[in-house]
Symmetry: D3
Subunit: 237 residues, 6 copies
């Protein structure tokens, strides 16, 4: 039924290649099928002005698609002179998702900036970005702990994200581009290992869904994130 | 328990003053307690370039806060030279919410732009904006029908939005600014009269919630939107 | 003779509703007929860099029209990414007008920012804005005096503004939109109670006028501002 | 009494060097004392979108100061990425002033853009710009008439501008930078040969003036513009 | 003598992985040692406005560094809202270099946009970008020929680029970051297979060099580009 | 053979008028034939943030063309809101060229900004700008030495620039606009008196050249810069 031949509750292959670039304190290339996102975590010992004197750190994120990550070339945001609403929405989401599993006090006065650059897009770029961002963050924080820059681990748990949607009437997990273009409803779930919800963004443009529909998608999302948590654990071992 | 003395499932007073400005095809000043948003609907007989030749219309929205709508003055976005990520996120949400109850084919080659300008903010500006936007849209579409510009009513149903959150451990409806600043989790629900969900945006920065928590908020949201649907019906009678 | 049926030297109804918003230190909604401008005065205990160490304060203003304040929708300046020349010209004028009645030394190291947002436009938005700005400023300064933040009243007198023009050969006072669109010449006068001139901006695109014409407009302006001074006095009583 | 030793009603030396650059259809370097402005008029056989199909032309202007035209270097507007409010105000004034002496119908569907670039500033840059702009416009229109591109002369008369102000209590003509920095009030008059007023911009920041004061400045301005009209006539002979 | 232990005329390892992304008509990941640039070629059947009606095509390029491609994180250009002078200089250079080996008439009315995104930087990013750009272009043009969209091969020859410089007094080939930071002079050569020079950019900030020095660098560059031409040939076989 | 009738190795007339503006610490109007560039040098006793505490100074440059310096009017960069890639490329080149003859340590903590504004363009604007920039810099530094602000002369030698190209098969010196538009290859040489090369920018879009061709252009450039060095010496005597 699905164009890819997958079962409704089947994730695409998850690949995580850590240390993909050498300068960043943490980095990985994460793949959800053909969607590939390069994620780096940069540690800086300065914090945003509004945090000064609080003894806390900060975790923030930026997101971008390379112009030809997509089927047809999009204009480069640096050339247009501004980031789109979509880009800003996604990078704010990534930042919030990570902060839901970080104790900013234990991070000390350090800022970690996560850069998520989509090299190739095939649906689910924001969910792959969040899932990879946790890996890059984990590696960067490991470095801070190893060097003694911070004493206690500020990372409370794992966070991962996956999209679900209703495609031709059936709830499906981890939509690829073809499904995404044609889905009746589309939701992104950011979940924390152990069962808590960090964020839900469920959108139904044209179609809508009821409470039962939303819950069915949430259950699919739990199955998907369990797969991602395992891949994350494996990657940072 | 709530700073305002409201019961957990109690909305603030809803006020809708239609025809607040004289030039727009539809307009209202909507209030959720002290939050007041001026909403106008502007009809133009042109459509975005990517819709040309499809025989369809478009509904879109813009959102802004006046600089001193808030406790302390914010910099004017026109002076800064760009709209914030928050502004863009909200105006995209308003547009999608309205389109979930509009049959764009029946709208013909018309574009309706909804402007939501927050005159005074006390929490829930985006939900008041969506709820008022439906009223302004309804009035503008009534004009198109009355003038014979379109033949069939493109509006399928009512849409309204409300925020819910967990405040000091209790799920509460329609958070005001004091509650919002201190809530553990915060969700905006966009619901359609009759029970369908158009959009859920549930965010838990720091705290998180489980499935049961999300459902409890959704049920509160239904109670709130029922109140809003009644106020909308009353306003456009 | 005038489309509104007014006599040549007749102002439109002036309405001033103070404390229109609750957060600003001073605010009012001023109406000159159907022109309605929301004005807020925001006090901040910081001053522009070039005033540091002089022991003086500053008064400045920003101006904006809501997109659908006018007959047809204008593009939002925040979305365009810049303020128009017209906007900048008007907000500079409002700031200079207010400073002509303020002793900046007595204001201490405080900055007062006046925001003038046009909710509905029907000619004379800048003159209504200046006239309302004085009211918001007066209320904000009253607060500074009451709290003891400043000792002496920095406001020297009242300032108000009105437009005059030559419409179908006759000098008329307080042009509305229909007159303004069709006037041969158009002048904005900013006058100080007691007879002094703070600013004259007389423009004749296409037509021109002689010295006698200019004086006749100035005399009309005096009649109009006397009406406004009375309304201001009443509003802040 | 004046720092320059001039009499109160004495203009600075006026110099106009026509054809200062070779590419523009009209050009001059105009000097009011040490203030020197390079003005070019560029003719294009296209018009702004909003004039299409009306059979009319358009005259518009742009203004800029070279970064080191002034005592201390200002940041280049192209590097800052936007034109200041002052720049926009001035270029709008130049355009309106020229259009007050042009019959746009006789200009045909041509646009003339006047560029005024201040090479050296010593007070009165906008008035020198307007006065020189008329010369460049006259030369460009002469070319259109000579080539037969237009049949009738669209220029109705001469326009010139001069500043006047109250310096140490005395009304003076054509303020230089030292006077301008220290004047109590400052007015720019745009006058048309024969006595009509095109534009008055009288500003009194801090100080103010009465009707009699304004008239005294207007009379000085007439003396000044008579001198400029003679220099313009001489230049285009 | 060189920090990397290389001989003065020794290139770093060259790696070219073609078809690195699946959407672009041509793509490769090129490496000069640790410098890695992702290059895509996008074919569009539209041309810039100034080429319309000439029956020619166009080849252009854009360049960017990911924020953490470097030792310390740089601000993202899309977030800053503009491309730096360095970025613009490099992307103009890449475009000119490619056009030196393309017969634009044979390309037909097609535009090929080359995007060069630096994933990891270690000196020589612009020379790797140019060398990889030729590969992506070759692959994209092969597709146009295979599909019959164009009849004749518009690519005249191979183009490649390499940097040379004077490091601690010795002319060296293909500077890495450590050498580049400390070189007395630095030149980028864009050469065409067969011996012609497409572009030389030799800069000596602080130090300078004489004619003989320039020639010595040019000879090193020939050695380097011979290596690159071989790698290009191999990659597109 | 050349449109101007010049011999292949013949420069256009060089004119340098020093002290063209009165405010700048150094200034000149330089002409290479009909190309005329106004250059000013502004001294400020502050340095860029990244130089603080090093006891060094800085020399930087900005470049602009007046909108009607060219055959047809170009849009003003300040109005467009950004500097073109070409502008940025040129101003970076001017800055590097000057720094190649300045000992920044001897300059002390002073910044000299060179502004090059092209009043009239006829080919070679960047080379005239560099050649004139040295004159303005020399005059500004003379002032610093005369006032005792610095003790030792930081200027090591003279720097000048000239373009050469291959026009209808013949290498020619100092291309004017007609030649430049039609040249097969085009190179800008920045040379230091005494024989050293500061910068070479040789571009061959469409055509290319071999080593011998490059050397022939370099020899022409030496002849040209010798003429310019003499004119510079004469100007600052």
């Amino acid at each position: 039924m699905r164009p890819s031949g997958r079962a409704p509750d089947e994730m695409r292959a998850i690949s995580i290649e850590t240390h993909f670039t050498k300068h960043a304190e943490g980095s990985c290339l994460i793949g959800f099928g053909d969607t590939r996102v390069l994620v780096t975590a940069s540690v800086e010992d300065r914090i945003p002005p509004w945090l000064r004197g609080k003894g806390e750190g900060w975790v923030t994120a930026e997101y971008s698609m390379l112009p030809r990550a997509t089927h047809t070339r999009s204009q480069r945001e640096a050339a247009k002179g501004k980031q789109s609403g979509r880009t800003q929405e996604i990078q704010r989401l990534i930042g919030r998702s990570l902060r839901s599993v970080v104790d900013l006090k234990k991070l000390g006065e350090n800022q970690i900036t996560i850069d998520c650059d989509v090299l190739q897009a095939d649906g689910g770029t924001r969910t792959a970005a969040i899932s990879g961002a946790w890996v890059a963050l984990r590696l960067a924080v490991n470095g801070l702990l190893a060097s003694g820059a911070i004493k206690e681990d500020p990372i409370i748990g794992r966070v991962a994200a996956v999209s679900c949607g209703i495609f031709k009437g059936t709830p499906v997990l981890d939509l690829d581009y073809i499904e995404d273009s044609d889905a009746d409803a589309d939701a992104n779930f950011v979940l924390i290992e152990g069962g808590q919800i960090a964020e839900v963004q469920a959108t139904a443009e044209g179609a809508t869904y009821d409470e039962e529909g939303l819950l069915r998608l949430l259950r699919l999302a739990r199955m998907g994130t369990d797969r991602i948590f395992a891949a994350q654990a494996d990657a940072v071992k």
